[in-house]
């Protein structure tokens, strides 16, 4: 083989290897998130299950404005026809007792254009645009689901949501989020567990970012149909229908403002959601004033109580304090 021939061969081989190297370089990291994920309500069970106690803002870094608005809330408010379809925050799913379904939308070449998190009857579907489109102008329309873009950081899908409506950000206690809220959300799948952590910033109703992290578990049988139903309204409080009255409490008149204080002996500032109560050093203030209540009160068994339904572990006798005795007897009877 002559030297020219050798050079050509080397060039050819180099070219082949270069092409192979280039086409085998991995694309940006992506994890297949599609599927259904069963909820694991092992955190904030009461809020996600039966519903929070009114006046329970523990764990929230609320501003005075947020607190005042939340205390105006009455559980009759969302029962009114005009308000049954009020927007819930796009990421309120972290406080709802439902499974999650995720799928992707692709273009003609198979490239993922968006990841989609299915909504439910109170929460709009969230579409996370992955195609690099910018967020709209600050003056653009704010929708129930907001506007969300995403990108991958390693194995984590990082989503950013803007353009939301003023909405309740937690379940059933009236904690508000303003339409200036932004959410940064980290979605990570580790083995069969899906972890979603959201960081909400709100210059109106929060004094610092509100952070929450939750776990779901991949389960092909977890689908809950219909995923997104039309919000149908009906008169739940006929006495208010067509009266023009709006259920609310005037400032200082919410009878549940002290519920957590009188029921669980916790300081009012902790129940009312001041940011400094979220950190370990607040225990110094608690130590001298907190005395555990004599009994648990309501919803002591939570998860176990749900297991009193078919498929339960046998023999559980947890005293919930909220279950009618006859039903308790039925649920815990031997041989069930």
């Amino acid at each position: 083989m002559g030297s020219d021939t050798m050079r050509r061969e080397i060039l050819r081989i180099t070219t082949v290897f270069s092409v192979l190297w280039l086409i085998s370089t991995p694309a940006l990291a992506q994890v297949e998130l599609s599927g259904t994920y069963a909820i694991r309500m092992y955190e904030d069970y009461i809020e996600r299950g039966p519903g929070s106690f009114l006046g329970d803002f523990t764990g929230m870094p609320m501003s005075d404005e947020g607190r005042a608005k939340a205390l105006r809330y009455s559980s009759s408010l969302p029962s009114m026809i005009e308000r049954q379809c009020l927007a819930q925050s796009p990421w309120v799913g972290l406080y709802r007792p439902l499974a999650i379904r995720i799928w992707n939308e692709v273009d003609e070449s198979g490239r993922v254009v968006a990841w989609v998190m299915g909504g439910d009857y109170l929460r709009d579907t969230v579409r996370i645009w992955m195609d690099g489109r910018p967020h709209p102008s600050a003056n653009a329309w704010h929708s129930p689901s907001g506007f969300t873009t995403g990108h991958w950081e390693g194995d984590t899908l990082v989503a950013r949501t803007t353009h939301v409506k003023t909405a309740w950000i937690r379940r059933g206690v009236g904690i508000p989020g303003s339409d200036q809220s932004t959410f940064t959300v980290f979605i990570t799948r580790r083995e069969n567990l899906l972890t979603i952590m959201s960081v909400q910033e709100d210059p109106i109703y929060l004094t610092e970012p509100h952070v929450v992290s939750r776990v779901w578990e991949f389960d092909p049988r977890a689908s809950q149909a219909p995923l997104r139903d039309t919000c149908n309204v009906g008169a739940e409080i006929p006495s208010l229908e067509d009266t023009g009255e709006v259920a609310h409490y005037l400032p200082g008149q919410n009878p549940e403002e002290d519920y957590m204080v009188r029921t669980y002996n916790i300081p009012k500032e902790a129940a009312m959601g001041y940011a400094h109560t979220l950190y370990p050093e607040y225990r110094k203030a608690l130590r001298s004033i907190y005395k555990p209540p004599d009994s648990c009160g309501r919803y002591c068994c939570g998860w176990i109580e749900r297991q009193g339904l078919p498929g339960a572990a046998p023999g559980l006798t947890c005293n919930d304090g909220n279950l009618p005795p006859a039903l308790r007897k039925t649920l815990t009877s031997p041989g069930r």
Binding site: F186, P280, P292, C296
Partner: protein
């Protein structure tokens, strides 16, 4: 075509030979291989389950934990005075309970293959050991933790990223919750550690974890706990175990 193939093999062989004659590759260490930086002081943000994490709930409040009947009965028999008398006031400070506590933790490299996790709450230390398993020794509140980087990417100039997976066993029986919700010595504690950053530089550590216990749980107890990295470390406040508060 055949000559091309032969030449390619020769070139690859030569490259391998050249590599093998070079100086031996340094032995990799967990510290050198780390795809994420877990070191620093992290504070738990108690924005979830405040009433069960920040304070001691009343006896019998076992909401949200998937106990079986034996677990329930054990929780209802909780007696902090008995724990104190037995010198077991740290039962709620074992690894599975500690991580959900109102803690600050400092993570640092003890050596090239061991991460050290210290908490001010209960003054506990847990070692996350990479590499071959070490002899277990007696059971302890923090047990024996084996650690493994889950590394992705990094090839041919691509970004390198990953997370940490740890598995802890050899635990002394302890509490998942301060009011005596139990886990047994058969408990297995699996954790996935991820670090996320906001555009403003704030860093969060998310610990997705599973407690499995065939004695007291009827299903795996799965939660995610988040912590924030602190630049100001002045709030570190070592306090001994307390069986009641």
């Amino acid at each position: 075509m055949r000559s091309t193939l032969v030449l390619a093999i020769l070139l690859m062989t030569a490259a391998v030979d050249a590599q093998s004659r070079a100086a031996p590759a340094p032995v990799s260490t967990a510290r050198a291989d780390a795809p994420i930086d877990l070191t620093g002081q992290w504070v738990a943000i108690i924005s979830e389950d405040w009433r069960w994490r920040m304070i001691t709930p009343p006896k019998g409040d076992i909401v949200s934990i998937p106990l079986n009947l034996q677990g329930q009965q054990t929780a209802e028999a909780w007696d902090p005075a008995r724990d104190e008398a037995a010198g077991e006031q740290c039962k709620a400070y074992g690894a599975p309970g500690l991580m959900r506590g109102p803690i600050r933790m400092r993570i640092s490299w003890q050596d090239d293959n061991t991460l050290k996790l210290e908490t001010d709450y209960g003054i506990q230390t847990r070692l996350l050991r990479f590499g071959p398993a070490t002899p277990a020794g007696p059971r302890s509140w923090q047990g024996v933790t084996s650690a493994q980087w889950i590394v992705r990417g990094g090839g041919r100039g691509a970004p390198r990223f990953g997370s940490l997976k740890t598995v802890t066993n050899n635990l002394r029986p302890g509490y998942l919750r301060k009011n005596g919700v139990p886990y047994s010595e058969r408990a297995l504690f699996t954790e996935h550690w991820d670090v996320h950053a906001l555009p403003n530089g704030d860093k969060y550590l998310v610990n997705t974890n599973v407690v499995e216990d065939p004695l007291y749980l009827q299903a795996p107890f799965q939660t995610a706990i988040h912590y924030k990295l602190e630049r100001d470390i002045s709030k570190w406040d070592p306090t001994p175990c307390d069986a009641r508060f």
